[in-house]
């Protein structure tokens, strides 16, 4: 493979008219910057960031609830490192930890189950966030806790599904998107076919792409070819990992533990059937059902435009708070603090 040759092909790609493509996935947002691929984009190609950062689309009241449960029920909050610095309405997990709240960063959700085993006298509440990629792993943990009769392990359901969110964006018509770079690892679970509606129902092209530099270059080249040739189809660049039907075993486990339900997305609002709730059989693991904390009313910063950003209406630099009142040290919105948030990526890697 001669990646440098492919890089030249991309940088010299001739576009007749300006083209806007959306990368749905937050890891793509960051990787486009980190690998330098965005830096070699041809003239006229614009990348619009999508709603694919699970931390960014989590609404404030989720973290407010987690913090309230932690304090009021003396629980250990177990979370992926990604959530630590995300602002809630009034604080963040990191700040609450400094005040004495028990917060443990875990790499795998199974580490949270182990935490429950190791601390039998403590209640562990795992913040179950993430899209289709992460949710099956979290489902396995709930199954494991049930099988081993672990009574002090709970999850706070916050998982979301990407397909309904992309549909909402397409339906709203707010943004003119010529094509999509689709999330490779979500697709590993749900399969390439789950995205075919983009072409058949909306007449837009899309490419399922991996995350290495050559995946990003090839994915973009493929998408530009589809756009240039007015060919609305969904193509799989990441065939080494993504099958047409995804990972059926993972989907089976996912839907044995979770069921679809309405979910509140930051900036987008409630999207029907876009969230994952625990099935009734697993209600005893549901922190929302087992605890009834007093949660203060959620509060959004009035100037924060993360919502519009996550809908692809603006890019980070369009927000008047960007880089001024809102920066990684004092983040106002989650898009600035999440490692894969578009604002964080622009702030860190942007040229300004």
């Amino acid at each position: 493979m001669d990646i440098k040759k492919e890089a030249v092909l991309l940088s010299q790609y001739t576009l007749q008219t300006p083209v806007a493509i959306m990368e749905v996935c937050g890891t793509h947002t960051t990787e486009f910057f980190r690998t330098g691929v965005k830096d070699i984009f041809p003239q006229g190609l614009r990348l619009i960031d999508g709603p694919g950062c699970p931390v960014c689309v989590t609404s404030n009241d989720y973290l407010d609830t987690a913090i309230a449960i932690g304090w009021q029920y003396h629980c250990i909050i177990a979370t992926f490192g990604d959530m630590m610095k995300v602002p809630s309405s009034y604080s963040s997990l990191s700040k609450e930890k400094s005040k004495g709240l028990s917060v443990e960063v875990v790499y795998s959700p199974m580490d949270a189950v182990q935490l429950a085993v190791d601390n039998p006298d403590k209640k562990i509440v795992f913040l179950s966030i993430g899209f289709e990629t992460t949710a099956p792993a979290e489902a396995v943990c709930v199954l494991e806790a049930k099988k081993r009769n672990i009574k002090n392990f709970f999850i706070l359901p916050g998982n979301k599904l990407t397909v309904p969110a992309v549909k909402v964006l397409l339906d709203s018509g707010e943004v003119n998107i010529d094509g999509f770079i689709l999330p490779g690892h979500v697709s590993a679970i749900i399969g390439k076919k789950a995205w075919d509606f983009i072409a058949t129902d909306y007449g837009k092209p899309a490419v399922v792409a991996g995350f290495e530099d050559h995946d990003l270059i090839r994915g973009t080249l493929l998408l530009l070819n589809l756009i240039t040739h007015a060919n609305p189809s969904v193509v799989n660049e990441y065939t080494r990992v993504v099958r047409d039907d995804g990972n059926p075993k993972a989907l089976e486990i996912l839907y044995s533990v979770f069921k679809k339900g309405d979910a509140s997305w930051r900036g987008i609002g409630t999207i029907p059937e876009s969230g994952l709730l625990l099935n009734d059989d697993y209600a005893s693991f549901d922190a929302l059902q087992q605890f009834t904390p007093d949660v203060p009313p959620p509060k959004e910063h009035p100037g924060c435009r993360c919502g519009e950003l996550l809908r692809g209406v603006i890019i980070p630099t369009d927000c008047p708070l960007f880089g001024k009142a809102c920066n990684p040290e004092h983040a106002i919105g989650p898009c600035m603090v999440s490692s894969e948030g578009p604002c964080s990526a622009y702030y860190k890697y942007g040229r300004k």
């Binding site: 990646i3 440098k4 890089a7 937050g26 890891t27 910057f33 980190r34 690998t35 330098g36 691929v37 965005k38 830096d39 070699i40 950062c53 699970p54 931390v55 992926f80 490192g81 990604d82 630590m84 610095k85 960063v105 790499y107 993430g130 992460t134 530099d213 270059i217 990684p328 040290e329 999440s338 490692s339 894969e340 702030y347 860190k348 890697y349 942007g350 040229r351």
Partner: protein
């Protein structure tokens, strides 16, 4: 098992026994002075004086302990100023419950590091804190060095070379791996080492070529480059393909979602030097065990003044931003 108890901080016999039978007998009853201060004789030179505290968890790791870290860190802080490290102090803050055996291992590693670096531990202090008020052991070391061949530090200009004495991110990554239950087929050790001999050798040979020298500890190589370029009329450019990074470091970094350019090193010095001498400096580094993987990793440019950045493998540029907080493992 013998452990640290409150009596060890009492000022009575238990404390004296700990100091005499454990601490001084290991660190050097010959060099540590018994009075309230050490009286030192130094040749007529300017002196460099530094202090640093060490609070690392875990306290023992592959490639070192909090003790060797404390000695090498202070030695390196002196060495990068062009000083020859001479004397260091050792202040211990011990948490009740610390096994004496563990303390002994840490002290032995301190002594070994001091011997290797050629510094004498001349004074010290020991305090005991109640269980839960500390994290096993904290160490403060202050150091004095004599400035014999000062570095000229002429202004950095476009075209200067950026040089490092070896692989990037070993220490921080080894610690992160340990904290996250990752293991290695061949092993990954901290690069914890004293650099004074290597640095003195370079200064001796190229007193005029070196424009900047700093040990790349917390915040890693990228943070050093941000320090150099802050407010400057030049930028610092790294070449991704030239970076010496161990496979294991790449592997851990990918798994945990961290960036080796921001991971701590404990035996690495970043030098900005006149490019004419860059290859000769690398050659001298390679003569030392701490410089086996030395390389020219970048250059000072006119592009992007005030920024550190990197030309990636595919030829694009990527800014290396100022690190805001400690890196955490992530899944996104």
């Amino acid at each position: 098992m013998d452990i640290i108890v409150p009596g060890h901080g009492s000022g009575g016999k238990m404390m004296n026994d700990l100091i005499n039978n454990t601490i001084k007998s290991i660190l050097g009853s010959d060099t540590i002075q018994i009075d309230d201060s050490a009286i030192l004789t130094v040749p007529v030179h300017s002196i460099a004086f530094t202090t640093d505290s060490y609070t690392i968890t875990p306290i023992e790791f592959s490639g070192g302990t909090i003790g060797s870290l404390a000695v090498n860190g202070t030695v390196n802080d002196l060495a990068v100023m062009g000083a020859v490290p001479r004397f260091i102090s050792c202040a211990l803050i011990l948490e009740e419950g610390l096994p004496i055996e563990t303390l002994k291992r840490i002290l032995i590693s301190m002594k070994e590091a001091a011997l290797k670096a050629g510094v004498a531990i001349v004074t010290g202090d020991t305090k005991i804190v109640p269980k839960g008020k500390g994290d096993c052991i904290y160490i403060n070391t202050a150091g004095i060095g004599t400035v014999e061949n000062s570095v000229q530090r002429r202004p950095i200009v476009s075209g200067d070379s950026i040089i490092i004495n070896g692989t990037i991110g070993d220490h921080g990554t080894a610690i992160m791996a340990l904290r996250n239950n990752l293991s290695f087929s061949k092993g990954l050790s901290s690069d914890c080492a004293a650099l004074n001999h290597l640095i003195q050798d370079i200064i001796k040979h190229f007193p005029d070529a070196i424009k900047f020298m700093r040990d790349a500890t917390r915040g890693g190589v990228a943070s050093i480059l941000n320090e150099i370029t802050k407010g400057a009329s030049f930028g610092a450019k790294l070449f991704e393909e030239a970076l010496p990074i161990r496979d294991e470091v790449k592997g851990v970094s990918e798994i945990l979602g961290i960036d080796p350019l921001y991971s701590a090193n404990e035996g690495k010095v970043v030098i900005v030097a006149d490019s004419t001498y860059a290859n000769d400096i690398v050659a001298i580094m390679k003569k030392h065990p701490e410089g086996a993987d030395a390389a020219v990793i970048g250059t000072i440019t006119h592009e992007f003044p005030g920024k550190a950045y990197m030309q990636t493998t595919i030829g694009g540029n990527r800014i290396l931003p100022v690190l805001i907080e400690e890196q955490l493992p992530r899944i996104c």
